[in-house]
Symmetry: C2
Subunit: 414 residues, 2 copies
């Protein structure tokens, strides 16, 4: 084990026990200090960011990635505003979820407490540095950030400002740690630092997430990939269905809650597909369809692979199905279990879909794009879990906590 | 990837979606059929168990392990009774934890659903086969059991009876799968079967659990090891403290909620230690103490290692501490974060201990031996989680479920 990561982990663990005993006011003061200091250090942060951008350009990094990397005054202000918003959220720590008395007189309560040390492994967007640190801090956790090498100068500058703001507000500077060494080995060491790190949350593309799942011995909360479906039932309001699929596919194709496959009941395919085709095409979407689809509208033939792909692009797979049951079976086979929607006017179909589709968020008559911590009303989001343990779906502050049992006795023995 | 495990996993996943849609009555019928059929097949099970015991004796297996392996009519009856009790518990599936409406009219509910496919990896006690399968089934999950090679004939006999009972009650026979091949490779394949297995729960000694944590890419719920502490505060009722430490240490030393270290405030050490010594010695306990301890009572010198050891035996480490703060720091350093108790008459000390000790269960004036699903009133227990994500402390039926968001709209787009 890398002794650097061991040391960092041990320090973070010590800091976590300080943070677990801080008041909400102390944590909010630190967050507001960060929100105040980030814009005040705009020049310094932009200077370091320019270095990262120059390096990335020289390496010939693709344009969308360059855009994700680049900061400007507005983006730094938005980062700071995000931190203020976290300060304004209710503190999840200390809530007693339930408390009961046993026949022997023991009173047992389940109390919400911080997770402890959270490792965040992420890619090129430097705003994650501020977002993730703010959420972890609010929930009373120490955080170890491991950003991508592309953004290292920007991340270091942001972390420097945050650490100094936190220390100025009287909390441990080590509440926020950022790995300067962005080598693969350091990331792997972090993933295996079970003694000190309580949980890892990877944020990024499918490759990053799969690498963390494969390498980590520390518990992981898997986030992200979304192969989402919209199913248009035979009883659907067809205009509503068209509006929903256009929104779910084309309002922001690069995000995980965007739809990737449209399923259409055979009895309305003849009427619905031309309508959907017109509106999707107008939005710039190209279609890949099954044989029954391209007999009705213009579409490239879809292969098996297309139904399993998260395009993250203006491409939509289309399939005509014989029944609601076939739609549900298709979804449960190909989905990444993120978000799925049915458009229907049938009560029975809506209930069957909600019951049988095995995904984090299942919608009736709404776009899959609502799967988001803010849209759900959590006021924040650290990611969207696509695994089943600990958290499923959008994760807010509560998902950055655990519980402990507190037991009041008066001498009970067993 | 082993195609056998892949096939088994895929089949279990298919079965899980059937089980997720079964009624409580159907699941209870299957459980009651198991409870009825196990005692009816006592001879067959005992015959296979005799084979396991003979093999184990020939290999010179230690006596306590032989005892754990051996079944008799009473143990089979107890197994069946355990399954009946699970049938009588409330079904956790279907509960809507909360539901709220968003300003845009979307109604969002969080509903409890089964986890899906659960892998249980365990050691030589064949009763785990019935216990674990019953709990998984009640919570609507398919289970893949991987028991130890020592107990393979017993486990196969028990699984055969259960599968046939389940099928007779109209549920899929594959609701319960037991790996016949108990090689290490098969276990490792199961630990890496992320596509089909939702969670792994290891049940057994520290070696087994560590091997699962190190090898698994499937999410794991770590159970078990307990280096538990009792701290006797300066204001303690000393007779209550003696009763608690004797109970916590000696009522059943081989279990994870037994105490391993006694911490004593220096101001009452002179009075308390001789009392504790008399009662512990009477109960057969030997002590390993710090220098201040063995100046007062007879004890072997304790080394650093002793404070980090889960003895699971009639051995207790003892340390005299200067303050409550030192006791808390010692616990947070050496504990496995399972269960810890303070004995005190001080309100402030009790609150500080409950707040600052970072363990799954923290007690005031009660024995650590109460950390148990039955003692907590859950009516069942699949294990005691010592990790922080998903579940912490005793796990009952609720901990064998996840949630999904169900969202009712009327055409909302974003």
């Amino acid at each position: 084990m890398n002794s650097l990561i061991e040391q960092l982990g041990q320090q973070a663990s010590k800091t976590a026990s300080v943070l677990a005993n801080c008041s909400t006011a102390q944590k909010n003061d630190a967050l507001l200090a960060i929100a105040r200091d980030l814009p005040a250090h705009t020049d310094e942060i932009l200077e370091q960011n320019a270095l990262d951008c120059k390096n990335a350009e020289q390496r010939g990094v693709a344009k969308p990635m360059l855009d994700r990397l680049r900061l400007d005054e507005g983006r730094i202000a938005a980062m700071a505003q995000g931190v203020s918003q976290v300060a304004a959220l209710p503190d999840p720590v200390g809530e007693v979820l339930s408390m009961w008395q046993r026949p022997n007189g023991l009173t047992i309560g389940q109390k919400r407490v911080p997770l402890g040390v959270i490792g965040i492994i992420y890619e090129s967007r430097p705003n994650v540095t501020a977002d993730a640190a703010a959420l972890c801090l609010k929930a009373g956790n120490a955080v170890i950030l491991r950003g991508g090498s592309d953004a290292i100068h920007s991340n270091l500058a942001i972390a420097r400002v945050m650490k100094s703001a936190v220390a100025g507000a009287g909390l441990p500077e080590d509440s926020i740690a950022l790995l300067e060494d962005t080598s693969r080995q350091t990331a792997v060491d972090l993933m295996k630092c079970n003694r000190w790190v309580d949980v890892l949350i990877p944020r990024g593309g499918a490759g990053l997430i799969s690498s963390v799942v494969q390498n980590a011995t520390v518990p992981v909360i898997e986030t992200g990939t979304g192969n989402c479906h919209v199913y248009v039932d035979q009883s659907a309001d067809l205009q509503m269905a068209a509006d929903i699929i256009v929104n779910a596919k084309a309002s922001r194709p690069s995000v995980c809650n965007a739809a990737e496959t449209l399923l259409v009941h055979k009895s309305i395919a003849q009427e619905f597909l031309p309508l959907a085709y017109r509106e999707l095409t107008k939005a710039g979407v190209t279609l890949r369809g099954c044989p029954r689809t391209y007999q009705i509208i213009q579409a490239q033939p879809a292969c098996e692979e297309d139904y399993a792909t998260e395009f993250l692009d203006y491409i939509l797979a289309v399939k005509v199905v014989d029944s609601l049951e076939e739609a549900i079976a298709h979804i449960n086979q190909y989905s990444t279990h993120h978000s799925e929607a049915i458009v229907t006017e049938s009560y029975a179909a809506s209930q069957q879909f909600l019951q049988q589709v095995d995904s984090a968020a299942v919608y009736v008559n709404a776009s899959t794009r609502f799967t988001d911590g803010f849209e759900f009303g959590f006021g924040a989001e650290i990611g969207i879990s696509t695994q089943k343990i600990h958290a499923r779906g959008p994760m807010g502050l509560k998902e950055l906590t655990t519980t402990k049992y507190i037991i009041y006795g008066n001498g009970q023995i067993r």
